[in-house]
């Protein structure tokens, strides 16, 4: 039995179906991310877990008990709000102690727990400050400490890092993961930032128009997206539409109008439709000056596309190229800058061959 089971939950606002027949299991001690574009219903789902919205249908089982209709203050679940929602009239200490006082904890125990929380999020010396005397990063820590203080069975985090700048966000991601591992607590985070979800979460649930479209580990989500929409939503991808032309020992040949005939390895489950898209991630596309020798892709079939470099974007760690094929289609390729001096760089206008193996391609139904 998972710690949290969401069963056929639905919620509408007027005619708008925010969450639509959604089911999901979350295990104890898991770091789970709900990822999706804005308006996909991920925040509504989180608010239903916190108790701020009640589902129209379905059950939410926490440790086997249905909490769908339980009021927020009676749930063993706490939430960290996107804007932190710190009480401006209370000090850091009183903010953290707020939930403990409500729980009727003894004075002495509250003091101990608050001190413990302050140490946990490294806010020593700031206990007497008011929220408006803190920096953004410090406020975020207070919010985290306040939501952890009651030791909830599940901690819900609504875009917890959205208000921080990039550097602080990255270090805070690491701290959140470390904290979650140390406390062994179940974290459910809502985010629209796929990099954030991939960095922190053990599993990611991708949502679109109120439905859960895929639940997978970060790696599987990226390398084996369940649909064309997910492939495009998570990361960058080249897509070529075509028709299945042949099938031979787990290898498909797909005739595309933009990139000619491509060889693709077929994954499980097999493709049932004839009209498909061949997808290839830019970092799996290699560039070379001349056609690669047969041995270069191992024993695999290699797809070769000839074209001209249309533009080059140097991004520091990687350089991304756009190669224009004779058909007019564009293939994006990105290459890691492994050497400081760019002996391997290609220039705009140069003729190149973009190539990739059959195993690196995905076949997605349209």
């Amino acid at each position: 039995m998972p710690l949290l089971r969401i069963e056929g939950v639905a919620k509408s606002f007027g005619n708008f179906r925010a969450v639509d027949q959604l089911s999901l299991d979350i295990r104890a001690g898991e770091f789970f991310a709900l990822l999706g574009p804005s308006g996909c219903g991920k925040t509504t789902l989180l608010r239903m877990l916190a108790g701020f919205e009640t589902p129209d249908e379905g059950r939410i089982l926490l440790g086997g008990n249905d909490i769908a209709q339980v009021l927020p203050h009676e749930r063993p679940v706490n939430m960290m709000f996107q804007n932190y929602a710190l009480f401006p009239h209370l000090s850091v200490r009183d903010n953290i102690a707020f939930g403990l006082k409500r729980a009727g904890m003894a004075r002495k125990d509250i003091a101990t727990r608050v001190a413990e929380m302050v140490a946990l999020v490294k806010l020593e010396g700031l206990e007497k400050r008011k929220p408006d005397q803190l920096s953004g990063g410090q406020r975020q820590r207070v919010a985290l400490a306040r939501s952890l203080a009651r030791r909830p069975q599940v901690l819900l985090l609504d875009e917890p890092l959205a208000a921080l700048d990039k550097k602080l966000r990255e270090s805070t991601q690491g701290e959140l993961m470390e904290l979650q591992r140390r406390l062994g607590m179940t974290f459910i985070i809502v985010t629209h930032d796929q990099e954030e979800a991939m960095t922190m979460a053990g599993r990611i649930g991708v949502m679109d128009v109120g439905r859960l479209v895929q639940v997978a580990t970060p790696r599987n989500l990226y390398e084996a997206p369940a649909s064309r929409w997910i492939a495009e939503f998570v990361g960058d991808i080249n897509l070529f539409n075509g028709q299945v032309a042949g099938r031979d020992h787990g290898r498909l040949t797909v005739a595309t109008s933009e990139a000619g005939t491509l060889a693709v390895s077929e994954l499980w489950p097999p493709v049932t439709k004839d009209v498909v898209s061949v997808a290839i991630r830019p970092e799996k596309v290699k560039l070379s000056r001349r056609a690669p020798a047969l041995g270069e892709g191992g024993s695999q079939a290699i797809n070769r596309l000839e074209g001209v470099v249309a533009d080059v974007n140097y991004l520091g760690g990687v350089t991304s190229y756009r190669v224009k094929l004779e058909t007019g289609a564009v293939v994006r390729a990105s290459m890691a800058n492994t050497a400081r001096l760019d002996v391997d760089a290609y220039l705009a206008g140069q003729r190149v061959v973009a190539w990739f193996t059959a195993d690196d391609c995905l076949v997605l139904e349209q």
Binding site: A50, H73, M79, F81, F87, P88, H89, S147
Partner: protein, 271 residues
């Protein structure tokens, strides 16, 4: 530090002085003449506190002043209570049927001519056969000032982040406790400002009070008004100076409360 404030030009200085003079000269003259020793209002006879002394021995005038202050305090308190509840209902309540109509009706005293409010209240009290006096004036002033309190408190409430209340509930408060422990402390400055506003409005109202008051329970403005019709006594100047001082104090306190409110949250009550 660089000069970020441009200095006043001669023209700006003059227009500022003229503007302030237009607003405050009559009041300054009134204050100065309240210290006049002469019996004639327009003739300067040297400095004296004679008229203040006279006022503090004028039983009828003191009764009127007491009446005004107690009507002001009671009606402001009632208006603050009702006005705050209305503001909470409008800002936080579910979207109930007729909400727009209700909020429109609540604000109607803001634009309604006082003569009409006064007359309609008079008709109501006559119809109810209520004895006119302290309570009728107080009730009338409560209806007049409640909407001002609502405006002040509601604007503060709508500037407050809803997630604060949600956070309180998440941390174990039922909705009522969440309101009392989080929302209320944050809107107290606006409530105080609303009370002050209601009190000053009640203190200087003549029209509605004269419709709804009865014999023997005149408020200070009514009393002054009827005295002035028989000729201006210098004593009136002294009374007015005291009222001005009282109102000035209240306005300063109210603006401090509103400042405090803005220091605590994102936006202040408009005052």
């Amino acid at each position: 530090m660089a000069h970020t404030v441009t200095r006043l030009t001669r023209f700006n200085m003059t227009s500022l002085a003229l503007g302030l003079a237009f607003l405050y000269l009559p009041i300054v003259i009134l204050v100065i003449y309240s210290f006049n020793a002469s019996r004639l209002v327009t003739v300067w006879g040297g400095w004296s506190l004679r008229w203040y002394h006279e006022f503090f021995n004028d039983r009828a005038m003191l009764d009127a002043a007491w009446m005004s202050l107690s009507v002001g305090a009671v009606s402001a308190t009632l208006a603050t209570l009702l006005g705050t509840l209305a503001a909470v209902a409008l800002a936080r309540g579910e979207r109930f049927r007729g909400r727009a109509l209700f909020s429109g009706m609540l604000y109607s005293p803001l634009v309604m001519p006082e003569v009409i409010s006064g007359l309609s209240l008079l008709l109501l009290f006559v119809a109810l056969n209520a004895e006119r006096g302290f309570w009728t004036v107080t009730i009338a002033h409560t209806t007049l000032t409640m909407c001002f309190v609502t405006v002040v408190v509601q604007s503060r409430l709508s500037a407050l982040d809803r997630s604060l209340e949600e956070a309180a509930m998440d941390l174990g408060c039922d909705p009522v406790r969440a309101f009392l422990m989080v929302t209320l402390p944050l809107i107290v400055p606006a409530i105080v400002a609303g009370w002050m506003l209601a009190f000053t409005l009640s203190l200087d109202d003549v029209v509605i009070a004269s419709f709804t008051t009865g014999p023997g329970s005149a408020t200070l403005p009514i009393r002054i008004y009827s005295e002035v019709r028989l000729g201006v006594k210098p004593e009136i100047n002294a009374i007015c100076t005291l009222v001005i001082a009282l109102i000035a104090v209240i306005i300063v306190v109210a603006s401090f409360a509103s400042k405090l409110s803005s220091a605590r949250g994102e936006s202040a009550a408009p005052l």
